[in-house]
């Protein structure tokens, strides 16, 4: 099975440096990072708090432009693409603090990325239900608002939302931080299946050694640099 998947270099960081500039000081959060992310693999980015993990993935996600260097998606630099379309169609981000839409129900939250992609409503609903089920949320959750969910449930809705868009790159910022080991496992299995069977590229920021162990490749960061 694995051999059939194209080991295409989906996402390439080329000497990426990112600096937060304020009036008083400049923080070099990511320094000179070069890396090639391939389809079909699960990556774990680990490192101490504040070492620049979130900054790196938001630069990969096209939310930031690198201060120096470039991020290439399928050979095109994020500088030279329509980043709106890139974020809508090619990349999905799961945030540390879920960031669900508070006014939308669970189902509507998961439908949202598909609405942006203008998927037919019927297909979208069945995909949404399927993705929710894949993270362990059954039909009884569909009509609830995020405020009526526990932290772990919200996290899983956020994961389902990221999966629903069908983007081939999934960036997850501590997706299992609020999950018990059972649900954490479920999510990790889903990521692995997507990568290994469907050729997704999954990049997970994590502090959890078990998640790191289960990933294909572990990337260690220290004060903005990749050290392995």
């Amino acid at each position: 099975m694995e051999q059939m998947i194209d080991r295409e270099k989906l996402l390439v960081a080329d000497r990426v440096t990112f600096a937060y500039k304020t009036r008083h000081q400049t923080v070099w959060a990511v320094r000179d990072v070069s890396y090639e992310f391939e389809a079909g693999k699960v990556y774990a980015i680990v490192g101490k708090s504040g070492c620049g993990k979130t900054t790196l993935i938001s630069t990969l996600a096209g939310l930031n432009l690198p201060s120096m260097g470039e991020v290439y998606y399928r050979g095109t630099s994020t500088y030279r693409m329509n980043r709106n379309h890139y974020r809508r169609d090619d990349i999905a981000v799961i945030y540390q603090n879920y960031n669900l839409f508070p006014l939308l129900t669970v189902l509507e939250n998961v439908l949202y990325p598909m609405e942006l992609q203008k998927k037919p409503k019927k297909d979208a609903v069945s995909i949404a239900k399927e993705k929710l089920l894949s993270v362990g949320l059954d039909g009884s959750y569909l009509g609830r608002l995020p405020a009526m969910l526990s932290g772990g449930e919200q996290q899983r809705v956020a994961i389902a939302r990221a999966l629903a868009g069908g983007q081939r790159i999934i960036l997850a910022d501590e997706p299992t931080g609020n999950l018990d080991s059972e649900n954490g496992d479920l999510v990790m299995k889903t990521f692995q299946r997507l990568a290994h069977e469907e050729g997704y590229c999954v990049i997970i920021v994590t502090h959890d050694p078990q998640i790191a162990d289960e990933s294909d490749i572990v990337i260690r960061m220290e004060s903005g640099r990749i050290v392995t």
């Binding site: 900054t55 930031n64 945030y95 540390q96 949202y112």
Partner: protein, 380 residues
């Protein structure tokens, strides 16, 4: 979906929506009130400009008319078409004398006038016009005459009167009698312009003795004063002995009224400007704060690749709906309070709506161009 989102957003953030509507309402009511006040004052001022007659009377240099003036006839042509004062004045009232005429052996004093107002006598003994004639005929092309009743017997059967010119009566003129007044002393009053033409080349010198008029356009009062200043001096008792003609102008109360109105309008306009700045600032601030409260939502939409049209459209729609509610109530309130709401109101509402939408665009841009990650990380 987007509509559903907007409606849900409005419903679940009802108080925020209402506070924006209330802000709009308050701003609009105040703005409409001041706009209509200014419009009222302006109409009042226009009325004063249009309806005030500023009377001007030609006098001697000291301001007196008591001794009878002998104004050179050339002055009359200043007020005629093509004359330097023609555009500046209206309602010329002129009484002129032209020595005498011979009626048989009798020497009859001759006057010229262009309206009965020119002669104080006619205020006491009004003119009786023949059928079909009136004051207007005195300014026409025809040589018409008003005579004292004791001259009636001289009128021919066809209503005309034949007069001979002094000194010996070798030339005669024919005029049509259109009216008479009762008096013991004989006199003939000819229409001014036609009369002057008839007398051309005769020894009868036409000498205006009373001349008055009104300012044609009160808005050009200063120009008119300048133009008049070329020919007349301001009448003043200290000008004793000057041979020039003076002009007495009844403009003091007009100038005062205009000044008071203009001052109050200027004050209101200043107030209006301040109010506009305040209203726009308050609306901006309210919108900015409301949008800031939902910056996480906007940041998430942005990070998911939501198009700008959708992102801005959604927020602006909500702003516009709140605005519409506030504006409608304000317009109803204004109509109920009988504050005139015409095209001006549409403009006021339009400008404020524009301001609010710009505020909305600015606030959304502030979110999307700021540090999105910081918002998404929930650190802000």
């Amino acid at each position: 979906m987007i509509l559903k989102y907007i409606l849900r957003s409005l419903r679940s953030r009802l108080w925020e929506a209402l506070s924006l509507a209330a802000t709009v309402f308050l701003c609009l009511v105040l703005l409409l009130a001041i706009h209509s006040t200014i419009a009222q004052r302006q109409a009042e001022l226009d009325g004063v400009y249009q309806n005030t007659e500023i009377a001007c009377v030609v006098t001697d240099a000291t301001g007196s008319t008591r001794n009878g003036l002998s104004i050179p006839a050339e002055y009359l042509s200043l007020f005629r078409e093509g004359g330097a004062l023609y555009d500046h004045v209206k309602g010329l009232v002129c009484h002129a004398t032209a020595s005498f005429l011979l009626l048989g052996e009798e020497r009859i004093p001759l006057h010229l006038l262009n309206t009965p107002d020119a002669v104080p006598l006619f205020a006491e003994t009004p003119i009786t016009y023949l059928d079909g004639y009136g004051d207007a005929d005195l300014v026409g092309e025809d040589a018409v005459a008003i005579i004292s009743e004791n001259l009636m017997p001289y009128i021919a059967a066809d209503g005309s009167l034949t007069l001979s010119l002094p000194p010996r009566g070798e030339r005669s003129i024919v005029v049509r009698v259109i009216g008479a007044y009762s008096s013991d002393t004989s006199a003939i009053y000819l229409s001014l312009d036609a009369g002057r033409k008839l007398l051309e080349g005769s020894v009868n010198k036409v000498t205006p003795s009373a001349l008055s008029f009104c300012v044609a356009d009160n808005r050009k009062l200063n120009e008119t004063k300048m133009a008049l200043g070329e020919y007349f001096i301001a009448a003043d008792p200290i000008n004793q002995g000057s041979s020039r003609f003076g002009l007495w102008m009844d403009d003091a109360s007009f100038v005062d009224t205009v000044m008071v109105l203009e001052r109050s309008i200027a004050l209101f306009v200043l107030f209006r400007t301040v109010l506009w700045v305040l209203a726009l600032c308050v609306c901006f601030l309210v919108i900015f704060l409301l949008i800031r409260r939902r910056r996480t939502e906007l940041a998430v939409m942005y990070s998911m690749g939501c198009s700008s049209v959708l992102l801005y459209g959604q927020v602006l729609c909500e702003v516009a709906i709140c605005f519409a509610i506030g504006a409608l109530v304000a317009l109803f309130a204004a109509a109920a309070a009988k504050v005139s709401v015409g095209g001006e109101a549409v403009r006021v509402v339009g400008i404020l709506l524009g301001g609010c939408l710009i505020g909305g665009v600015g606030s959304v841009t502030a979110v999307t161009s700021g540090d999105i990650m910081k918002i998404l990380k929930g650190k802000e």
